[in-house]
Every structure is written in C-alpha cells, then in structure tokens.
C-alpha cells in the first residue's frame, strides 16, 4: 500500500484499509510518528470508531487529527472529497459524517492524517473535567436517521 508523506505539512495520505501499524512503520523510516499506539486496526475502521486513543481535540486546539479525506457513501452512489487543509469555512464540516459515525453514512477510502516528528514536543492542555463522551440523545439519534435518509435519496 502506498502512503504519501507531505513532510513540509507534517501530513500523510493513507488508504482507509491500511493498518495503523503499517502506517507507523512507514512513518518511522521518515523520522515521524502518528503519536498513538499503533495496532493492527485499519485506519478507516479506527476513525469510524472515533479514533480511540488519539489525543482529544481540546488538548491542542490549534491542531487536528484529520486534515482531509475521501469517503464513499454507503450505497456507493458518490465519493465525497474533503481536500486537506488546516481549517476551512465553507459550510458544515463534512469530516464529522465520517469520523465517529461507524460507517453509517460512508466508508473512508483515503485520509490525510497529522503526523509528528519523533520526540517532538506535544501540547496537552488539561481536559479532564470536560465531558467529551456523552451518550447520544434521542434528538441526535433522530437527526442521524434523517441524515441517513436524505443521503440515500
């Protein structure tokens, strides 16, 4: 599997099927790391599960884990591309439909992930009192159902 490392931007583009361990091995050769425990989980599945083990987005607000991705809708009707960028302001952030949604709407084909030079200093603001994993409410569940319905239309 081929990985594209953008050294200047500290990003790597990987297929959704690549395992975290295989990505980490390739990064290690370039002096880089994902900065998480590298398992045999496919990166697409890992992101669909909400990237367990990754640093919270609130630990370093200027940083993010996913810079861009391509994902194919579950019915295969279209592929959505979110081009890599540190931030954007062009409507809803479509990445939210693919990360943490357990492939309900789409599966990730490729993803641009942030990588770190080995041994680099990491920012870690305190997050221990923030409630970052509340249960999904019935209202949210209803909206998720409506999104699934409308995407399938």
């Amino acid at each position: 599997m081929s990985f594209e490392i953008d050294r200047e931007s500290l990003l790597v583009r990987v297929p959704g099927a690549a395992t975290l361990a295989s990505i980490e091995r390739a990064l290690e050769r370039a002096g880089l790391t994902l900065g998480i425990a590298a398992t045999d989980l496919a990166v697409g599945d890992w992101l669909a599960a909400g990237a367990p083990g990754a640093a919270s987005a609130f630990a370093d607000p200027a940083d993010h884990l996913v810079a861009g991705l391509t994902a194919t809708l579950t019915d295969g009707s279209a592929t959505v591309e979110v081009r890599p960028s540190p931030r954007r302001a062009v409507g809803p952030d479509l990445v939210a439909l693919f990360v943490g949604c357990h492939e309900r709407f789409a599966s990730i084909d490729h993803v641009w992930l942030r990588v770190h030079p080995r041994g680099a200093r990491r920012v870690a603001l305190p997050t221990e009192h923030l409630d970052l994993d509340p249960p999904v409410s019935p209202d949210e569940a209803a909206l998720l159902d409506a999104i699934a319905r409308e995407l399938a239309r």
Partner: protein
C-alpha cells in the same frame, strides 16, 4: 382587507413575540457588511434587500415558536447576529422574516471547575470577554469584529480570532450547541469523541441548518503573563517558513502575525488616522491621485512585490505574543516559550526587532478593521479574502491568488492563523472603476465590475492552488457559486442532504451556501442588484 405581509401574519399568530415591520427596521436589516453592498449604497441603492420584518425572540422557546410558525406557513427565516458577516450570508427579500438573536444574552451556566460557559447565542463578543476576564477567565476568541459580532454569528460563520494559535478557531471551542431546527424542534448537540458528533455540522452552516440559541464553550484561565516579540525577514516566504518551524516545534504563540512588506509598513505605522481617504490603508496620497494610481494595479503590485518592495518597506514583519500562566520553572511559561522561539527563528534569517511592534499591535488590535469607510468615500472599494492550505501548497496559494487579484486590484497580505500543518493567508485589496462596458457605465457599476472580476479570478486561483475558498469568513452567497470547485458535486449534494435533514421545508436562510439556488443572482460569482 387582510394584510398579506408575512410580518403581519406572524404578529397575528405570535402577538407576544416582539416584532417590527417598521420601514427603518427593514432598512437596518436589509444586509450584512458584504463590501459589494457598500458599492450599491454608494450608488444610492441603500437597502435593496429589505425583509418583510424583524422578530426579536427573548428565549429559545420563542425562537422555536417563530420557526414552527415559519415551517407551517413556509415563510423563509434568516437568523441574524450582529450583521458583521462579509459574505452576503444575510440577504433577505420582502418574503423573509429576519430573526435577530441579540435579546438572548443570558449566561446559562458557568462551570468554573471544568472551565465551560453555556451562553446564549445573541451575546455580543466584547462584553462577553470582559465579563469573563473579571472572573479570571478568557474564551480566547478575538475576531477583529469582536465589538460588532455575536456568539451565534461566530459559530454560524466558523469565525477565527487573533489568538487562534493557542486557542484555535471557534469550532475548536464548542462543546455543545442548543439549536432550533427547521421544524421548530429544540435540540441539544454534544461534542462526542467516540461516537457521532453533530456539532461540526451546525458550526459553519451559516443559518441554513438550525438557529443556534446557546453554546457551551470551553474557557481558559485569563493569561497571567505575556511575552512579546517582533522579527523582520528578508521576504514573506522566509517569514512563513519561520512560522511553520515554530508551530511544528510544538510552540503555540497565541498571536503570530506575518505581514508582507507593504502590509508590514502599514502595521508599523499602527494606529488609524481619524479622517480623510488616506487612512484607508493607503498611505499619504489624495483620493484622486489614489484612484489614478489604482487604475494600473498590475504595475504597482509588481513593483512592490519584488526586492524593491522589501528594500523600501523593510522586509516582512512577524509579530509574536505568547501568553499563559507565568510558569513555576524557568523552562515554563510565555517567556520560556519565547526564548525557544528565538532559538528556532534566529537561524532562519529572522532579525530581532524587540518587543515594541508586538506591544503596539496589541494596543491597536481592533483599529485596523475600521479603515474601510474612508476607502469607499474616496470612490474606491476594498475587501479581504482569507484562504488556507497545507504548508506545502502555501507558496502556490500565495503566488496564485496574489497574481489573480493583482491583475485587477492593489493587493497586500498577512498571515495571522497558523497551524502545525498549514496556514491561512489574508489578502487585503483595494481597487477602482475599470473601463465602461455595456450595462456598466456609471462609476459604481464599473467598480462593481472590477470587484467581481477580481473575486472571480482569485477564488479560481485559490482552488487551483489547492487552497480553500474561505478560512473564517464563511461562504455566504458571495462564494456559494464556487462551492463545488472545492467540495465537488458530491460534497455539495451532501450539504444539500444535510439541509433537507435539518430543515425539510428549506425555510432557514434559503439560497445561502447553495451554488445553484434559484435567486436573483448572476450565475457566475456575485449577486446583481434586484431590480423588481
């Protein structure tokens, strides 16, 4: 006879909710601060896009009743914060009810232990930050428009503040949103790490998915200490390489602003002059001379861009401010971070300029935003464009957009939102009337033509270089026609699916963010005036 105006119907249906169909109110709510509107105003078309009326709910319950009524009667509703948006996110017509949130300003819950605040969406920016400061806290969000924008508007337009280097953009601060969807249902969406997170869909949706009524925001301790520094660099590129090195070394200066040589010269001058066209970011020239000069923007841009510009204006300027807790050990805190930054920057052709320019910048941090009026008064126009890209594409983005804009208008740039993987470039430009063409003979119409050409070329160049259409102003109606160039057709179709899911009857800010909306706008880049 029954008054057919939607406002009269609303007032009949919900007599206890404050509303107005008064002519002055309708004029006041006819637009946001999209600079192209200013050209129309200068031409005498003060309020072409008047709404049917305005409604001022005081609670979420009132917002829900208004939206439910709008849903039932299929009446379009445009959420309104303070109207400081610059992309035609607010562009009503005589069927639209504008829903102003500014009566909703309560703090619902301050959790000092978790450092979170649940605040209503109509709260204005500066008083919020000042009240937090009095309690030893900060939100860390300082848009230049902090005096004239609301929490809800920040969230809806994906705003960025001057301290994004440490605290992130508004989307990095939101833990939960209470909002009213297009059916009038009140929902609370919560940030969730290991499950579906709907918050990022409503953030940036510019009033098209839901009306945000309150937000739970992450707070930080008010900084105890600050460390200031400024550096000059031979070129802008040297400067952004230095910014990249800082952020990739794990440093998070709250403020890191890099100015190209011309913008640096303006930044060094600091404060805004009080009167006259010359204070419009255009140094020491009379309005007429300036208009003449700007007729040949290509030549001026070329002259100032190269080594000549650097030599005359003294190179690019980087202003840096670290802030935070003072730090117990000598290796901690803002001063230690600044010392590390100096070690990173000095081998990169940085010339230390001391603390002065950064302190001066902080003193005048909001003044620069009010330079626009004198430019328009001088018969010119100005605007800004904020785009972003990964570092590897930044050079192409900078050159491409600069060239595209530079053919039509005078352009300068600064970079004030950097991240470990990329950066935003903020172009400021000023232009004048181009040659007369059929249908566009008057001065202001000719200015509009130049304005449209410059934007069209610049947005195309941004996407071509691998950049985004916008970094923090949103897309509104002004960039919507180009949305598929960044998101692709599938991305746009996904956005439309979201709109149907949240707002099945399409009553929330219809036409906004939709490239092919059936509106009275030109199919190209920008709306033309409604003539009906």
């Amino acid at each position: 006879m029954v008054d057919p105006s939607p406002l009269a119907e609303l007032a009949r249906a919900l007599p206890d909710v404050r509303s107005s169909g008064d002519a002055a109110d309708r004029v006041a709510y006819a637009r946001d601060l999209w600079p192209r509107h200013h050209l129309a105003v200068r031409a005498g078309n003060v309020a072409e896009h008047r709404p049917a009326g305005v409604v001022w709910p005081a609670s979420t319950e009132e917002v829900a009743r208004v939206v439910r009524w709008a849903h039932d009667t299929r009446t379009p509703v445009v959420p309104f914060g303070a109207g400081s948006g610059v992309c035609a996110g607010v562009l009503p017509n005589e069927r639209v009810i504008v829903l102003d949130l500014k009566r909703m300003t309560r703090w619902r819950e301050l959790d000092e232990r978790a450092r979170t605040l649940d605040v209503e969406a109509g709260h204005m920016g500066l008083p919020l930050e000042e009240d937090l400061n009095r309690r030893g806290l900060t939100l860390g969000h300082f848009p230049s428009s902090i005096l004239c924008s609301t929490v809800g508007g920040w969230i809806a337009a994906r705003s960025a503040g001057q301290c994004s280097g440490k605290y992130g953009k508004i989307e990095d601060m939101v833990l939960a949103l209470e909002c009213v969807t297009g059916t009038g249902r009140v929902v609370t969406l919560r940030h969730r790490t290991s499950g579906p997170n709907l918050v990022p869909l409503v953030v940036g949706s510019e009033g098209t998915l839901a009306v945000v009524t309150s937000a739970k925001l992450r707070l930080h301790p008010k900084p105890e200490a600050r460390a200031f520094a400024a550096f000059s660099f031979p070129t802008t590129e040297h400067g952004w390489e230095a910014m990249r090195a800082m952020f990739q070394a794990g440093l998070r200066p709250a403020v890191a602003r890099l100015y190209d040589p011309f913008d640096a010269m303006l930044a060094r001058r600091g404060a805004v002059k009080k009167d006259g066209a010359d204070s419009g970011g255009t140094p020491g020239l009379g309005a007429a001379a300036l208009r003449n000069l700007l007729r040949r923007p290509g030549a001026i841009n070329e002259l100032l861009e190269g080594s000549f510009g650097s030599a005359v204006f003294g190179g690019a300027l980087l202003v840096v401010i670290f802030e935070g807790e003072a730090g117990a050990a000598a290796t901690e805190g803002p001063h230690a971070d600044l010392a590390t930054a100096r070690r990173v920057l000095e081998p990169m052709k940085a010339r230390w300029l001391g603390e002065g320019p950064a302190q001066k910048w902080l003193l005048h941090r909001y003044s620069v935003s009010y330079r626009q009026a004198p430019v328009f008064a001088a018969g010119l126009f100005s605007d800004t464009m904020e785009v972003a890209a990964p570092w590897s594409k930044l050079g192409a983005l900078y050159d491409g957009v600069r060239r595209a804009l530079g053919a039509h208008v005078f352009v300068m740039a600064h970079m004030s939102h950097a991240y470990p993987d990329g950066c935003c470039i903020y172009f400021s430009f000023a232009g004048t009337a181009g040659p007369a063409e059929p249908g566009r003979e008057g001065w202001d119409a000719r200015c509009e033509a130049t304005y449209d050409r410059a934007w069209r070329a610049a947005l195309a160049a941004a996407v071509e270089a691998g950049g985004t259409l916008a970094h923090h102003h949103g897309a509104g109606r002004s960039k919507a026609p180009r949305l598929s160039s960044e998101l692709g057709d599938a991305g746009v179709a996904t956005v439309k699916a979201l709109m149907r899911a949240f707002d099945p009857r399409g009553i929330l800010n219809p036409g906004n963010l939709i490239p092919d909306a059936p509106t009275p706008y030109v199919d190209d880049a920008h709306p033309k005036p409604v003539t009906a």
